[in-house]
């Protein structure tokens, strides 16, 4: 059953609120979009409607956290990380306060709202903050477990969530481990490292590649920071060919993170699939995914170009 990661977040928040009285939620006039309205209804005294003021949201969350609360601050990724960057950096990151920034509508699949609402730099902004954990879950089950793990973990966490429904990849028996890569396919020819809603696209590409006789490893990096260096090196050594896929700018996101690891630990050719230093635009999510080359066909084209180079 396909479900959006923001919806899984809302469901999990409700569950979390039931057994953890310290969970509080802050939103900026977006309780429906961020799927926090369920929590609002169930625990109105622990829900803070902050209005359209993202900077205020982040610093207020810091104040709540300093008094032992576990705030989940939610708004669109672009406003959470862009508008309130410095509040997150100085009032949450620097004092290492226990605030969870659960931002929805990340990436271009926001759709028709267009470039102003499509966050393609949020991973880059958040992972630059010392000590900030950055999580980008791939489906509903992983989101659920990531939210629960974030609440257990003490310290600032950024969780990147999407608007559109994504296929289920993980089953109930899946064990999410903060900071650990999740191997989904094991193949000897090429390594596809992916995150967020692009993981299902990477799996689709691996299945198509198999028909062409190419065995792909698919690695899901749900925790972009701290990144699982050892695992990335290990799966890259297996194939010597690495492709990264993300619904984010190729500058500063997963692709950059993987390149940083490999350049130091195991230099190997990497091709980065993502938004290529341009802004998005209005369109349906499906159209935008095609327009910006976030498809399994684009992954396959990149895989095949490895072989062209080798001939």
């Amino acid at each position: 059953m396909a479900k959006s990661t923001r919806e899984a977040y809302g469901d999990t928040l409700l569950e979390l609120g039931r057994y953890n009285q310290n969970i509080v939620v802050l939103v900026g006039d977006l309780s429906k979009s961020t799927m926090t309205f369920g929590f609002r209804k169930a625990y109105p005294e622990r829900f803070f409607e902050m209005g359209i003021s993202e900077q205020d949201i982040m610093s207020t969350a810091a104040g709540l956290a300093s008094c032992g609360k576990i705030p989940f601050a939610s708004t669109y990724a672009i406003f959470a990380t862009g508008r309130a960057y410095e509040q997150i950096r100085n009032s949450i990151g620097y004092p290492r306060l226990n605030v969870k920034i659960a931002a929805t509508h990340a990436g271009i699949t926001v759709g028709k709202d267009g470039a102003t609402h499509q966050s393609i730099e949020d991973i880059s902004l958040m992972r630059g903050i010392p000590g900030m954990v950055v999580i980008s879950p791939s489906d509903a089950e992983e989101t659920k477990q990531a939210i629960l793990a974030s609440a257990e973990y003490y310290g600032p966490v950024y969780i990147r969530l999407g608007r559109i429904a994504v296929p289920d990849i993980h089953q109930k028996n899946y064990k999410f481990q903060l900071g650990k890569g999740d191997i989904i396919r094991d193949g000897k020819d090429v390594t596809i490292i992916s995150t967020g809603i692009m993981v299902s696209v990477a799996i689709e590409a691996a299945d198509k590649l198999k028909e062409k006789g190419i065995e792909a490893t698919v690695l899901n990096i749900h925790t972009i920071k701290p990144i699982d260096k050892d695992f990335i090196v290990e799966v890259s050594k297996r194939t010597g060919r690495v492709i990264t896929v993300e619904e984010h700018s190729i500058i500063g996101g997963l692709g950059s993170s993987v390149c940083e690891v490999l350049a130091e630990e195991y230099p190997v050719k990497v091709k980065r699939i993502g938004i290529k230093d341009i802004f998005g635009q209005s369109g349906t999510p499906e159209e935008l995914i095609r327009q910006y080359g976030l498809t399994s066909d684009e992954i396959i084209r990149n895989v095949e170009s490895f072989y062209e180079g080798e001939l």
Binding site: S53, M58, S59, S66, S91
Partner: protein, 275 residues
């Protein structure tokens, strides 16, 4: 809790804190003297008379919270905390030095008694709102105090937060404006007019009290009035003098930040001692 039982006690303490500020900035070779000296009397009344605190247990759950939104006045906060017994006065001489627990701007993880890391302006009321929310959620009696600079009222976030405080009727929160009228590039009026401050906060739903920010009795009275005000947050507009107590620093824009040389230090100490 009441160490400063009478105004004479408080006056003596404020004077000692001013001397510590001059000494620590002079030793460090850099610091924000003007804005530190202007808020000393406010901090003295809070820490020595009004706030429910326990220097032996700086993380006591039920303590009143304090946020220095104008974090650059760190020398004033550090000197007050040292004087109040949170850490030895000797530590003040490590201010701004590599590895010191006294950073250029307050750090809640390094300095006992600092409830929030500050320095980037405009964030103090928001943080205070968060603490005030927590107190109400937990049915705890603690109050939250935030000292603001006047220049930082130019930050948009101040007004976002001011709306939040009144919308949620945060009467356990008291803001105090260190209204010395000067900022780095000149007077508030020259840089960007912030007046009418009283009307602005009133129209945002706050209880506003205007006082002389160097009159210890008036400061205490205003804090009591804030405590007795139900259903809305209070801001105390404390008219102050930047550089208060040191003749050559008073009302001088140049003394926002900088070094204090030995001659200036001697003169400053004489001024503060009233010699």
């Amino acid at each position: 809790m009441d160490i400063g039982k009478d105004t004479d006690d408080l006056k003596r303490i404020a004077k000692e804190i001013r001397l510590l500020i001059i000494n620590m900035i002079s030793a460090a070779g850099h610091g924000h003297a003007g804005g530190s000296l202007s808020c000393v009397d406010i901090l003295t009344v809070l820490y020595f008379q009004k706030m429910r605190i326990d220097p032996a247990n700086p993380i006591w759950d039920e303590r009143d919270r304090f946020i220095l939104s104008k974090g650059h006045a760190a020398p004033a906060l550090y000197s007050t905390l040292a004087k109040r017994g949170y850490f030895p006065e000797d530590v003040l001489y490590s201010f701004g030095k590599l590895g010191s627990m006294l950073q250029g701007h307050p750090d809640m993880n390094l300095t006992p008694g600092v409830d929030m890391s500050t320095g980037s302006l405009g964030q103090g009321i928001s943080v205070a709102n968060g603490m005030a929310f927590a107190a109400k959620l937990d049915n705890k009696p603690y109050r939250v105090y935030v000292v603001l600079g006047d220049g930082e009222l130019q930050e948009g976030q101040i007004w976002e937060a001011a709306m939040t405080s009144s919308h949620y009727k945060l009467d356990n929160l008291t803001a105090i404006l260190d209204f010395n009228g000067l900022q780095i590039d000149g007077t508030n009026d020259e840089v960007k007019r912030i007046q009418p401050v009283s009307e602005k906060f009133s129209s945002f739903g706050w209880n506003v009290i205007n006082i002389n920010g160097h009159d210890l009795f008036e400061i205490g009275k205003a804090i009591d009035e804030a405590k007795a005000t139900i259903g809305k947050p209070t801001i105390i507009l404390a008219k102050t003098i930047k550089g208060k107590g040191v003749s050559f620093m008073e009302n001088q824009v140049e003394w926002h930040a900088g070094t204090i040389d030995d001659v200036q230090k001697r003169r400053a100490i004489m001024d503060i001692n009233g010699e």
